[in-house]
């Protein structure tokens, strides 16, 4: 492990903040990650020296901004190994990317009686849009369950797949269980059944492999803010053929070719799907984040995160009455748990008084909670800057809280 975490931590200004007088221990990375200095500087630099509207401008600032914006598209293309830059569409985030596909794919390819498949372990953002689309299009909403360890029931999935299946949507990594789904296999099975696949990569693109061509994903969505980039920017990758085949989602400037009262024709991807002035600075900040990652060795990042995860698991299990949720074969970055007789909300709130930031509740995955028959969990989630010290701080704080609660 060549990765120098102290050096990395120094790149993230917020990590040296005090919270309630205690050093911040930030373990809420699945909700959003912190930003390294180059990202913040890229944003400031944009607004201070070349802010302008893009694409149609003919002046200097507009050229600079357009170039930076389109260079960012290429940086992202390379990071996910897409074949073409125009297969990278900018959205507000994963949620919007999925809504776009649910709408546009639905309009073109989903008809009454067709099937759409998601999983019980999907985030509401990869669940509700498909439910809404199925309702609008008269299609059947099918859901693949997971087993007691948090592994997808591939046998049930196989049975659900059929000639009526139009599209399968699933998360590569579960934000509540940490399960790494066997994405290649899930995709292959869908393709064998003639269905398209959307991969929700919100929790995977920053932690594990993220090669859309190796996965053979038809659509692939993620959020900038979860991969050390700015808020309000996300990516939808789509295979060129699919992007050509589905209709646009929103109408407006940028996405048109010709507009008249009688007839409007649309631009080519990616612009066809980017109506209106985009979040111009978003991709620029996101590319700065990805450049930052590219400056490290991704295998080292994975190894470091994995070692902290394993350490966290074993330290947490030392605590009496603590249950960990998510024991899938392959896991990453998530430590979700409850302690007997302690409400997750109380534990999370009280951990905060010790400077430890975790998330509590259903984590936008109520179907998981329903399946596990719980209301919620405490979730500590890791990023590349977390260390064993963070885990030690978490465990020490939990012990203090339990003591205060008289346990």
């Amino acid at each position: 492990m060549a990765i120098d975490i102290d050096k990395i931590r120094a790149d993230f200004p917020i990590l040296s903040t005090l919270v309630n007088g205690k050093p911040l221990v930030y373990l809420d990375n699945a909700a959003t990650t912190q930003k390294p200095r180059p990202v913040i500087e890229a944003i400031t630099d944009y607004y201070s020296s070349y802010n302008s509207n893009i694409h149609r401008g003919t002046h200097h600032l507009s050229n600079l901004a357009t170039e930076a914006h389109e260079a960012a598209r290429k940086t992202i293309q390379r990071y996910i190994n897409a074949e073409h830059a125009h297969e990278v569409i900018f959205t507000r985030g994963t949620t919007e990317a999925i809504n776009l596909v649910a709408f546009s794919f639905g309009e073109a390819f989903v008809n009454p009686g067709d099937d759409v498949i998601v999983t019980t372990m999907d985030h509401h953002s990869n669940f509700v849009p498909w439910q809404m689309m199925c309702e609008r299009r008269g299609a059947n909403f099918r859901v693949v369950p997971f087993d007691e360890n948090g592994d997808l029931r591939l046998d049930v999935y196989q049975n659900l797949l059929g000639e009526k299946t139009r599209i399968v949507a699933f998360n590569h990594v579960s934000n509540s269980l940490g399960t790494i789904n066997p994405a290649k296999k899930v995709i292959q099975m869908a393709h064998d059944a003639g269905a398209a696949v959307l991969v929700d990569a919100a929790q995977s693109v920053q932690h594990i492999e993220h090669d859309v061509r190796a996965l053979d994903a038809d659509f692939y969505a993620f959020s900038g803010h979860k991969i050390y980039g700015p808020t309000g920017i996300g990516v939808l990758y789509g295979k060129e053929a699919w992007l050509d085949a589905i209709p646009p989602y929103q109408g407006g400037g940028e996405m048109i070719d010709q507009v008249s009262i009688e007839r409007t024709t649309y631009n080519k991807p990616p612009f066809k799907f980017e109506a209106g002035t985009p979040n111009i600075v978003g991709p620029i900040g996101l590319a700065a984040a990805i450049d930052y990652l590219n400056g490290l060795d991704f295998a080292d990042i994975m190894a470091s995160e994995d070692s902290v995860l394993k350490y966290g698991r074993s330290r947490l299990l030392e605590i009496d009455g603590l249950t960990i949720y998510g024991n899938a074969q392959h896991r990453t970055s998530i430590l979700a748990f409850n302690i007997d007789g302690v409400h997750h909300y109380d534990l999370g709130t009280l951990l905060d008084t010790h400077g430890v930031a975790v998330r509590t509740g259903h984590h936008c995955t109520q179907p998981i909670m329903t399946a596990l028959q719980i209301d919620g969990t405490v979730r500590a989630s890791l990023a590349l800057y977390n260390t064993r010290d963070d885990i030690d701080a978490l465990v020490a704080a939990i012990r203090k809280v339990l003591k205060m609660l008289g346990r």
Partner: protein, 141 residues
């Protein structure tokens, strides 16, 4: 009975003796455990106030234009918050409840910790109590 304003002042005084956050929470939890209790019959669907993360049952009665409240929650902290609301509002004239400005949360610093969140359902409880009071005015409800 003391007025809403007086009670809020009393709460602020009580908390002012506790400078550290963990002490404040310990006190809040203690308050909750002492002052919330809801007979099983009132733990109905209808009485549930939804925060995102915790369940609160809030039972409201209107007697001669006064609002009476009982509450419970599965979360100790939310129990404590509910207890504070009961202390402030229960037994007060509906008119006064409607007009009340909840300043004490801010004064004891709990607003920073709690009130902007949707997680704990505190705002939802306050809204529900005020809406109930509006029906109760003059003993109508």
């Amino acid at each position: 009975m003391a007025s809403i304003q007086e009670i809020q002042g009393q709460i602020v005084d009580d908390f002012s003796f506790l400078p550290a956050w963990d002490e404040r929470y310990a006190y809040l939890i203690e308050l909750g455990q002492k002052n919330t209790l809801l007979p099983e019959e009132y733990r109905t669907e209808d009485n549930i106030v939804r925060g995102c993360q915790s369940l609160v049952w809030l039972h409201k009665e209107c007697r001669q234009g006064e609002v009476f409240l009982q509450a419970d929650s599965d979360s100790l902290i939310v129990k404590g918050l509910a207890a504070l609301l009961l202390q402030v509002f229960s037994g007060q004239p509906a008119e006064a409840v409607i007009k009340a400005d909840l300043t004490f949360f801010k004064e004891i610093g709990l607003d920073k910790h709690l009130s902007s969140q949707r997680a704990n359902g505190l705002l939802a409880m306050v809204e529900e109590i005020k809406a109930f009071a509006a029906q109760c005015v003059g003993g109508a409800a």
